[in-house]
Subunit: 460 residues, 2 copies
């Protein structure tokens, strides 16, 4: 094993410069879902390729029908071939008025207790996280002139917007991208002290539905009660998606879900998850999902249907007595086990369509989905990585589940036949996808040190 101590020392002495580099990336307004920000996505991709070339990778920006993909290689080492994945795109920043600072003007801020964090959209999801790996590589190269393993880096720009370009790209570049295992830095720690490897991930897909009734907006006095109101119809259908016990009522929704293995259930119980604290942090107190499951089970092992957005009629200041011609909602589904996105998508559309009264129709726009993933923890790489993380954090690392979706894990398995080692340093209060997103400075610096250790451990 290459000598690790000087690599860690180098990371420590270079930490301020590493933060400055991250800031350059965070200033790119790479909101992939909105075409208005395409040039900013391109800028982020080019910045990353330039930085990786500077370290000694052979990096390129590959164009796609959507946002570009950055691919970089350093295959000079003798060790196993690792393929690191991250994404440089970010979520929209609205509602902007709830941010305490400009989302694309990052800064290091210090709390009263002396702890420090990096503020800004993408600081945690996922630019800060992906740069922990890049910094680890930079340090190994700076100290030893080489990496402990062969490393390929793949950084995409559509993780937050459906990721349509990635599957054909993986398919077209199968030989170049297939490695022994994938490393992904887009998940969280168990808590601020306990590092974690995520071994279960929910899948997801999304639908936008628009219910249409009259051919134009109507005066609610002249037509009110005689004319179908699409807001009434949409709200009634959305309300029927869940029963009184939190179960989703779409026929066949739960097909392909096995009960949680007892061993895993016990391990999770041992984590001492406190839903009062988890929900209390965001002003809530009671789990709102299926009453038959604990909050942790709801999040890690149970599927969901969530309305993420709804709009229709007059939403400006004051009042307008209108019956609108249409009303819309965006709905996302989280999947577990062997739930199939396309089967459930079809069932959802039928669920909506068969509930439409006379004179109404529904139109759908779908976002591609990904199945859920369960990792092979028996692979020795998992224990090696767990040891490296435990050493860095001086706390036994945990195998955990994750409610969020990382569709790329399923794609790597399906297209490249490659398992994924999911290690990340995000915390639950990072406000990802929300105003005031942040990343602990400690996550960033110890994250880079963690990856330096994992690279060394996997290369040994």
């Amino acid at each position: 094993m290459a000598d690790l101590a000087p690599v860690l020392s180098h990371l420590d002495s270079d930490a301020d410069q590493a933060v400055e580099r991250l800031f350059e990336l965070l200033r790119c307004q790479s909101i992939s879902t909105d075409p208005a920000y395409d040039a900013e996505c391109q800028k982020a991709a080019e910045w990353l390729a330039t930085d990786l070339n500077g370290i000694g990778f052979e990096a390129r920006v590959a164009e796609t029908p959507g946002q570009p993909i950055v691919v970089a290689h350093d295959l000079t080492a003798d060790g196993p071939h690792l393929m690191f994945y991250g994404h440089y795109d970010v979520q929209p920043v609205d509602p902007l008025n709830l941010w305490d600072s400009e989302p694309f003007d990052p800064a290091v801020r210090t709390r009263d207790d002396g702890s420090r964090y990096i503020s800004g959209r993408g600081s945690s999801d996922d630019k800060g996280q992906l740069m922990t790996f890049v910094e680890a590589c930079r340090a190994h190269k700076a100290v030893h002139g080489a990496l402990p393993c062969k490393v390929t880096i793949l950084l995409e720009g559509e993780e937050e917007s459906g990721g349509a370009s990635l599957p054909p790209f993986l398919d077209a570049n199968r030989d170049e991208l297939t490695a022994d295992i994938a490393l992904i830095c887009d998940t969280g720690m168990w808590d601020a002290r306990t590092p974690a490897i995520t071994t279960m991930l929910r899948g997801n897909f999304a639908e936008e539905v628009t219910v249409k009734a009259a051919s134009r907006d109507l005066h609610s006095g002249m037509y009110g009660s005689a004319a179908a109101n699409p807001i009434h119809i949409l709200t009634r259908i959305l309300a029927e998606i869940h029963d009184g016990r939190g179960k989703v009522t779409i026929p066949g929704f739960y097909d392909g879900i096995e009960p949680l293995p007892n061993a895993l259930k016990e391990q999770w119980e041992a984590l001492g998850f406190d839903h009062t604290e988890f929900l209390g942090d965001v002003g809530l107190s009671e789990p709102a999902g299926e009453t038959a499951y604990t909050a942790l089970e709801q999040i890690w092992s149970r599927p969901t249907a969530e309305v993420n957005g709804i709009w229709g009629g007059y939403t400006g200041a004051g009042f307008k007595t209108v019956i609108p011609a249409e009303a819309s909602a965006k709905i996302s589904f989280r999947l577990v086990g062997k739930q199939d996105p396309e089967t459930i998508r079809a069932a959802f559309r039928e669920f909506v369509t068969e509930r439409l009264p006379a004179d109404c129709k529904a139109e759908f726009v779908g976002r591609p989905g990904g199945v859920a993933s369960v990792m092979p923890v028996e692979d020795p790489a998992f224990e090696k990585a767990r040891g490296a993380l435990s050493d860095e954090w001086e706390t036994e690392a945990a195998f955990i589940g994750e409610g969020g979706s990382i569709p790329v894990v399923g794609l790597f398995k399906e297209i490249l036949d490659m398992d994924s080692l999911l290690i990340g340093f995000g915390l639950k209060d990072d406000c990802i996808h929300s105003p005031n997103e942040k990343y602990e400075l400690r996550s960033f610096t110890k994250g880079a040190r963690s990856w330096a250790r994992v690279l060394a451990a996997l290369g040994a």
Copy 2:
């Protein structure tokens, strides 16, 4: 009775100039609900006062805590004292992309069949209508130098936004504004051939409700199913407002409603209302309200609860997997009989509040309401006016109901103890409150002639 023929001739020869005057008023962007347009409301009020002074009225623009009110008098005649009411404010124009022309750039357009109409926001509701009365007064003054009756004109600017300033204004100017009867031009004809006097009006009031759950927007993967989703809660509560037969389920909602008198029911049936045509014009076919009532009864004699707007979460392009912190809706209620707005408002708020799950709260913003009105058709003025209308249109005028709310009718009764004679020339396809609002040129010219006749008949 003053000689009517030269007055009607004068209206005919002055018709083009009358349209030009209306255009000047229509170009004022007097959207009263949005404070951004306050100056435009002021402009409209001043234009009207200037015009009325030019005719020979003594007119002034009275400031209020909201939009100004125009008051004008010509009390030189011997006849009865009439008080004419109209409103110069208009509805918002969104969605702007559905307009075929600029909403505030009016024009006379000609159809293939040669019929002509005036396009623009406010052309029908209510600037075009109120100017029919002003033009009738102008013609009487031009021909005879005097009006057949004492006339007071009251033009307000908050009819589309709650009308909060009018009640205290009426109260403070009771002596000045009280007349023998009010004339209101803000209603429609029965059909394009048949003039009408509206003798029943629904009342209304509105509520905006915001359901709040978590203290911030949440990632739907990290929190999905465990955290309360305010869109789910709001849609479920809204869906429960109506039962499967179109009835409103808010306790006490129907208190104070008497069955429709048989005589009136028979008169309405005789009108030959065809819901297929009424709904067909806007792309619908089946009445959506209470199944126990005909479509005409639903519109004229039954109360409603309509959601006019809903919003929450991410509504931009693409998708965002967020559980929002809050979701909102605007709801308006149409009232009949003796339904009391404030009693029902309280019942609605309780209906929502008692359905909130743990961790959620609701906040309400109310818009003042008005009760329903039923006119005293036995007053001789009603038959005089009916005769005048029948003469002008060469068709027997009808006594009809109206689904829309004109709260001022209730205020005139309550504060000034004055009944209202509701005569208007709008048509069902005028698209009021919608894109492409228009007013038939025939409504405008024959409307002015109608008022000239009504003034003469009431002065006789």
